[in-house]
């Protein structure tokens, strides 16, 4: 049974999406339950996959799509490959998808009125695409899955207001450039190696010793540029803030934590599995230096741009840009700790961004104003929401025992070990800026006077006093917030064992 897990993780939401579209015509009220069940099953399977891979019986699950036989030369068909790293990311994707579906229970009807079935179908297809990106072992299939996630996310963003449509259009342009660059890179690799399977590409590169060849270097640069565009690495980040801030709230809460992180995973996979550390770090020593300084720029610029904003969602989106800088810089520090730290940061950043986006969406919904001024006195009015927000914010700043502290700890210690002080300073600077941003909000929320605020979207409470009008949201939004903040703490507490698993998996590949 275990050997079929990789494909089941993909098939359950895929058929879930089809069923939701068919159901949507007659019974739109059933869409939520259907997608909740399908994503629940999918995340359960991926949880068992994590356990199966960890238990040591099978360290790497391989699944041949279409049952192509194992040939002695090249792999013919498309192969799914799940090791501990892929299993952890797939579990993060499906679990965030599941929890986000709980959150969308009341919001979907309100924000994408009349398109609820399509929303649930698209979000499940997006999850299929993201899981496929993580699991596939075929470079061209990776491109197709990147385009599947991109297409679904363009449509999901464009479901918002008119600003969302415009930012979605910009995302289409940037996303297409990024994915096409990746495709060109794969084309050059195919010309030189004659195969598309990631393991086989590596094998041929090593056998024929093609490392110095121009085509391979050009392929590497094109793939990196494409992946960086997709993950919004600093000078290429233009599409991200507007797209995530104006999208419907339950779309933003899902895409903000996952899209960029999965692309960081693709970058680490290309660096470690296709090209190998020796090529990336040693053959062109200038590259590492340049990329790390670019990531320093990304961290500093992302933090400062976030500091300059007053809109809470914009602040969070610019913080994502800074966090992408963390991960790119960490994975280019030429040592295993940096890569493992960047990988651990994928998981912890997904948890804390998810937590903050849910909290911010709830607050914007209740207060009806997305500016920071709206936080005045919120601790008295919505204590539960603010507790969740505080956990996420403290993790962003980097206070123990949240996972943000530990990922920063690993990244900083890797930076010190590699002797790259610019990167270390940028991380500490970004921590301080995050502290300024979030303590400014805490101050308002604790001590701020409650001003006259607009009525919320639930006018059932007829009390004229705005102090009482703003109240906690229903359980379907609070439960996801607490699951998210709980996972921030859990990832922080489990950091030691997680980090060791990640390091072991990366070491296995590098030797």
């Amino acid at each position: 049974m275990t050997e079929h897990f990789p494909v089941l993780i993909l098939l359950v939401p895929l058929f879930g999406a089809l069923i939701v579209v068919l159901l949507g015509r007659e019974r739109p009220d059933q869409c939520w339950v259907t997608s909740l069940i399908s994503l629940g099953v999918s995340s359960l399977i991926s949880f068992f996959t994590v356990i199966a891979v960890l238990s040591g019986k099978v360290q790497t699950l391989r699944y041949r799509m279409g049952g192509w036989p194992e040939s002695d030369g090249y792999e013919v068909g498309i192969e799914l490959r799940v090791d501990i790293l892929a299993a952890l990311v797939v579990f993060a994707v499906t679990f965030v998808g599941f929890v986000n579906t709980i959150y969308s229970k009341t919001r979907a009807g309100a924000e994408v009125r009349g398109k609820v079935p399509f929303f649930y179908a698209l979000i499940q297809l997006l999850i299929v695409g993201l899981c496929g990106i993580v699991m596939t072992n075929d470079a061209f299939n990776l491109y197709v899955l990147i385009e599947i996630t991109s297409l679904t996310s363009y449509a999901l963003i464009a479901m918002g207001n008119r600003r969302a449509a415009l930012s979605s259009f910009n995302y289409v342009i940037m996303g297409t450039i990024g994915a096409s660059f990746y495709l060109i890179g794969v084309g050059y690799l195919y010309i030189k190696t004659g195969t598309l399977n990631i393991d086989d590409i590596r094998m041929v590169l090593e056998q024929k010793n093609l490392w110095e060849h121009q085509s391979i270097i050009v392929a590497f640069i094109f793939i990196m540029l494409g992946v960086w565009t997709k993950m919004a690495f600093f000078p290429l980040h233009g599409w991200l803030p507007n797209a995530y801030a104006y999208a419907p709230s339950m779309t933003g809460t899902f895409m903000a934590p996952l899209m960029t992180k999965v692309m960081v995973y693709v970058m680490i996979r290309v660096m470690v599995w296709i090209f190998g550390n020796e090529f990336v770090y040693s053959s062109q020593p200038m590259w590492g230096e340049i990329v790390i300084w670019m990531s320093v720029l990304a961290i500093v610029a992302g933090s400062l741009l976030a500091l300059a904003r007053t809109d809470i969602k914009k602040i969070l989106t610019y913080l994502i840009v800074a966090e992408v800088g963390y991960m790119v810089g960490g994975s280019w520090l030429a040592d295993g700790v940096g890569q493992a730290g960047a990988f651990y940061h994928i998981l912890s950043d997904a948890a804390m961004t998810f937590c903050l986006f849910i909290a911010a969406s709830i607050i914007v919904l209740r207060v009806g104003d997305s500016r920071v001024n709206a936080f005045d006195g919120l601790f008295r009015k919505m204590p539960l929401t603010m507790i969740g927000f505080t956990v996420g914010a403290l993790s962003m700043i980097g206070l123990p025992p949240t996972c943000g502290f530990f990922s920063k700890w690993y990244l900083i210690s890797a930076g010190i070990e590699a002797g790259h002080w610019g990167y270390v300073c940028a991380l500490i600077f970004s921590s301080l800026v995050n502290a300024v941003i979030f303590f400014r909000i805490f101050e308002r929320a604790y001590f701020g006077k409650i001003s006259g605020v607009k009525e919320d979207h639930f006018p059932s409470d007829s009390d004229a006093n705005p102090d009482i009008r703003i109240k906690e949201v229903p359980w379907s939004m609070l439960v996801p917030l607490f699951i998210a903040s709980g996972s921030v703490l859990l990832l922080g507490i489990m950091n030691r064992s997680l980090f060791e698993w990640i390091q072991a998996a990366l070491k296995m590949m590098n030797t």
Partner: protein
């Protein structure tokens, strides 16, 4: 013509003309996507950009004096083999007998079928989005749209 330019053209451009054309087309597309003000013109640029990559892939599979890769006798001989253990050996033999220089490489073409589908759906989605933009802003010129957004707290 200057002899240096002539030799450059002869040595670099003529043998690799397919790459040159793909790069030029790609640059045209990229230029249109980045600089054009009209959203539909940006999409036309995007289509040119994607087509350039398709051209690149397809030209990679071409060989001189090669035929389309339909191998008539391969399947029939394959079916005659009943013994599974000897099948791998026999297919290897057949592979050896096929002269691979006589057939164009089919794989890039197959990959591009998928890429064409992806390109078409991206274009369709982008056109739908621009329709939505036109309905809510009344224009497809980017600067006019940004002007309309400015009073409402443009960020």
């Amino acid at each position: 013509m200057d002899p240096i330019i002539a030799t450059f053209i002869e040595e670099n451009i003529v043998p690799n003309f397919n790459y040159w054309i793909y790069v030029i087309l790609m640059m045209i597309g990229l230029y249109a996507m980045i600089t054009k003000n009209n959203l539909i013109k940006k999409l036309i640029g995007m289509a040119i950009f994607q087509t350039a990559i398709i051209l690149f892939y397809v030209s990679v599979g071409v060989k001189d004096a090669a035929n389309i890769p339909i191998i008539s006798h391969h399947g029939s001989e394959h079916h005659q083999m009943t013994d599974l253990s000897s099948e791998t050996d026999s297919t290897k033999e057949i592979h050896n007998t096929i002269d691979k220089d006589k057939y164009a490489n089919p794989l890039p073409h197959v990959l591009m079928l998928t890429a064409i589908v992806v390109g078409v759906s991206t274009l369709g989605l982008a056109l739908a989005i621009s329709q939505k933009i036109y309905k809510s802003f009344g224009t497809l010129e980017e600067d006019e749209i940004l002007n309309k957004l400015r009073p409402g707290g443009h960020d």
